[in-house]
Amino acid sequence: MSTGKRNWTVSMREKSAELFSLDTWLPTELPEYATGFMYTLGSLTASSFVILLISGIIMAANGPQWWTISALGFFLRGVHFWSVQAFFFFMILHLLRVFFSGAWRGGRERTWLLGTLALLIAIPTAFTGYLVRGDFYSQWNAVQAKDGLNALGLAWFNTLNAGQMYGLHVIVFPFILGGIIAMHIAMIRIKGVVPPYPSDRERAAQLHEEGGRSHVPSAH
């Protein structure tokens, strides 16, 4: 029971209550402007990530060379390959949509930041996957990529070490990426989808209302 005094536990309880609420994760209504195909792109990106996780977990459970010697493994490897193409395809379309919407407006800067961070982490996540395919592409890009990483002082990330790349690809990067995607989605739900730009009249009224206020008010 709250005593009214703020401490870490009280703060965590308050934040968690919102973060894990049904309203956050299972909404029954959305703003009128947030419907239609343009608003399916983020969901399609998240769905692609789910298919990547499912196909990836099955492949990982069977060992790191199963997909080169079994028909089912080869099929799943194809599903994984085309899912990553879908993931980036929908993610880039989603990125374009949110950029042209000015999606950081109304106190949504961190939502944008988390989304772009997801793209940044997705790149080495996918690249380490290419490096454990075990074909000519893996060999060639392992030796090509090492020079840039070595030059930037990132030699620890040894693209020639298939064991290290495998570990990074199947657990480290997906874990980080999944966490960032989850936070991104939670922020979208808590802050809401960015509303359209206001009409000239509404915008002028907002400016008029603010009058001589010196600070920039938060919209949330």
């Binding site: 099929f75 772009t116 020079d147 930037l152 070490n161 495998y166 359209p196 009249r201 009224a205």
Partner: protein, 322 residues
Amino acid sequence: MYHPRTDVTHKYHYVPVDFLKHLFSTTVVVAVIASVLSAVFHEPVRPALKIQTYAAAHPRTFESVALDALNGTGSVANYGPPYNNGTGSLQDVVQKWVGILHPVNAKVVFVLRPLSQAAHLDPSLQTALTAFNQASPSQQAAWETAYGNGLSHAVKHGSSISLPPGNYGPVSVMMNDMLHLGQSGLLSGALNRTPADYQFDNQNALLFLQGRPLQNEAGKLELQGGQWGIIHEERAPYPGPWWMTIVTAIYQIPYIANASAADAMALGSGMVLFVIMMFAPWIPILNRLPRYLGVHRLIWREYYKTHPLHEQAAVAERGVES
């Protein structure tokens, strides 16, 4: 005062949705698309380049690669950090600071150690290795130079080569056995041995191949850096990792491509561009750009039909309508 942070409408209402059904539908759509594409087109696969097949098809180049490792002129022998103290691929001070994380003495790791393992099966090779190791550095260099000259006049007979007579010393036996070891398929195993019993690291076999063997093969497939290589799939028209297009494009700028620190500059400038995108909400002008580009009118076309964007701003002077 205007700030993009406050530039949002408050005039909208909510509509009922079935969120779970929406998520289920998008997941089924992606699963079906990926499954159909996998069943019809599979994933592109071009078999890895094996030392065994390369040694059989290109015996002269193979011996040349091995000789360069032995005499210290190969690309890995003189690479620099993180492999050794060379300077051939040392691009900046950060690379030097990080130091030798993955030590590779090409002469020992690529040639002398595999040959000493093979010598257990071939006593004549042990004799040649002993002679080489007991010779002075200048004598070793003289044999290596002579063998290099001989290689440039070597004649290929199928998977073997013959050199004109010369003062090659034990290097002739060593290189000949190196070729046999490569063609046997045992060299990659010898290269990838680490102190651990289980082997997960194929660094040394890839470093052995990284020069002419992989470069020549990649050039034929238009996969080299100057050919926008990293974003290609080796089997056109399959899509490659096209999401790395911006960094690959930076590599095509002559000023960067020809720089001694090309990799550091390309990756570094790609990262700077990415950081600008990440912090766009806080960058003046950039954070207001979408309003003036006007694409949002298309995105919210339906919304703006009922909530026109351009209304008389003068109304504000008379007060705010709710």
